[in-house]
Assembly symmetry: C2
Homo-oligomer: 237 residues x 2
DNA sequence: TCGCATAATACTGTATCCATAATTATGAAT
DNA sequence: ATTCATAATTATGGATACAGTATTATGCGA
């Protein structure tokens, strides 16, 4: 239509995205204090758009704002993971159900193509590649479900989950197990067995939670205190 | 424990809350343009905290930001309602299931007390009172479910739903019907029949969607254009 | 040497100012 | 009279400056 539909994104949006990436990559790790001035100088911008970006990230739950104190990267407790994973299991399970009923032959073909990529990454033993392919498959299922709000909620929750390290795939045979779960999910979708697809997807998510718990149990030496700065100012009260 | 835990909320938070109330009360109706300068003058503050408040509201989905164009109250399409209500049905249904299993006798007592309030408001024919009592009951069920993240997601979605007028309760026998549905839900919880409680809660939400659809079908003359201002600048491309 | 009070410092919160882009108004040409 | 181009206006986006509060450092007293 008109040329001004190609609206250039506002600066605070770009800043928010860059901060997200730094949080997801754990360059900014949970508990780390975020200094407005320092970051603004780093990016060569003023504090105004940076502050707006932080407000957005706070709404997403990635950072926590303490009025007149500052802002730190949100720390998830085990309790949070115990809440979020079953929720994701419920939502993604539902998506699998709907997707199974709505998928056209062309959609199935695409799902299979995405799954094959997953198989290849697994064969290569590429953890990051597997992670990305896994995400692509799940996202495709969510889109096939046809409910944009469910997908939106799942995306938001996934962002929060990315606060935790994603190396549970490195655990013993977790990658192989995850792959096998995917195979069975795809099979159920292909066979138009919506109820089974839902159940398997549900179990798949809970399986992911279990792997994470196992990993956390193994590493029983969590970072005792948030990364320095202005001293310990977090009071979980 | 230290005195600074009584952190005074930042100005942008108060502004955000006041704007939420104006949106929920439909003083600011969907599609209405939000003028930063005008609002800042109204509240006697500068544009800075106001802009931060708008970023927060945008993250919540209550307003839509058009970079370099401005900001208007989000308009929900029927499609959105068709997506959100089934999602709420899924989530609140799950809450009912969990709540049924976890409720202590004291919890049951409280639920019954909340339901009685609903009965009283219905008897009085107080629509707003019924609405509030209804909300209180649903919220109690969500809290009993014990999953804070599910409750959080439901709360967020409920805020978005408040963009629509809530007068579907005025429809023919909708209030009576809603009350009856509540009675059956409470009965199922009391009888520790989690599966039935889930099913009934699920149906209750979908029933709410149906009432809204009926109302929208009746009023087939929607506001043709967003409330004035700088002319029609919304392009739903 | 340790604890507390006070001063210094650094960061967040808010206001003001400037730049830029979008919309509206104006005017000329067809 | 209508349409298009151009100028003026207005609102948003971003930067800077100032105020207030929380933390840290310093020094006094026990």
């Amino acid at each position: 239509m008109s040329p001004h539909n190609i609206a250039q994104p506002a600066l605070y949006q770009e800043v928010a995205e860059r901060l997200r990436q730094r949080i997801f990559s754990h360059e900014l790790e949970p508990g780390a204090w975020v200094d407005e001035q320092t970051l603004a100088e780093q990016y060569g911008i003023s504090r105004t758009p940076l502050r707006e970006a932080l407000k957005v990230l706070a709404s997403e739950g990635l950072v926590t704002l303490k009025p007149r104190r500052g802002c730190y990267v949100t720390q998830l407790a085990e309790r949070d993971l115990d809440d979020i994973f079953p929720l994701m299991a419920l939502l993604e399970g539902r998506c699998a159900f709907e997707a199974t009923q709505r998928a056209t032959p062309a959609d199935l073909k695409r799902l299979e193509s995405l799954h094959e990529k997953l198989e290849r990454q697994a064969a290569k033993g590429d953890i990051n590649g597997f992670f990305e392919a896994n995400h692509a498959f799940h996202e495709a299922v969510q889109e096939l479900s046809g409910n944009r709000w469910v997908k939106q909620v799942i995306d938001d929750l996934r962002k929060v989950l990315k606060l935790t390290r994603r190396d549970s795939l490195r655990l013993d045979g977790r990658l192989k197990q995850s792959l096998e779960e995917h195979r069975r999910i795809l099979a159920a979708i292909r066979e138009r067995d919506a109820a089974t697809a839902e159940a398997l997807m549900h179990a798949h998510l809970l399986s992911g939670r279990a792997a994470l718990a196992k990993m956390h149990a193994a590493a029983l030496s969590p970072n005792p205190s948030p990364a320095g700065g202005r001293g310990e100012r977090i009071s979980h009260g």
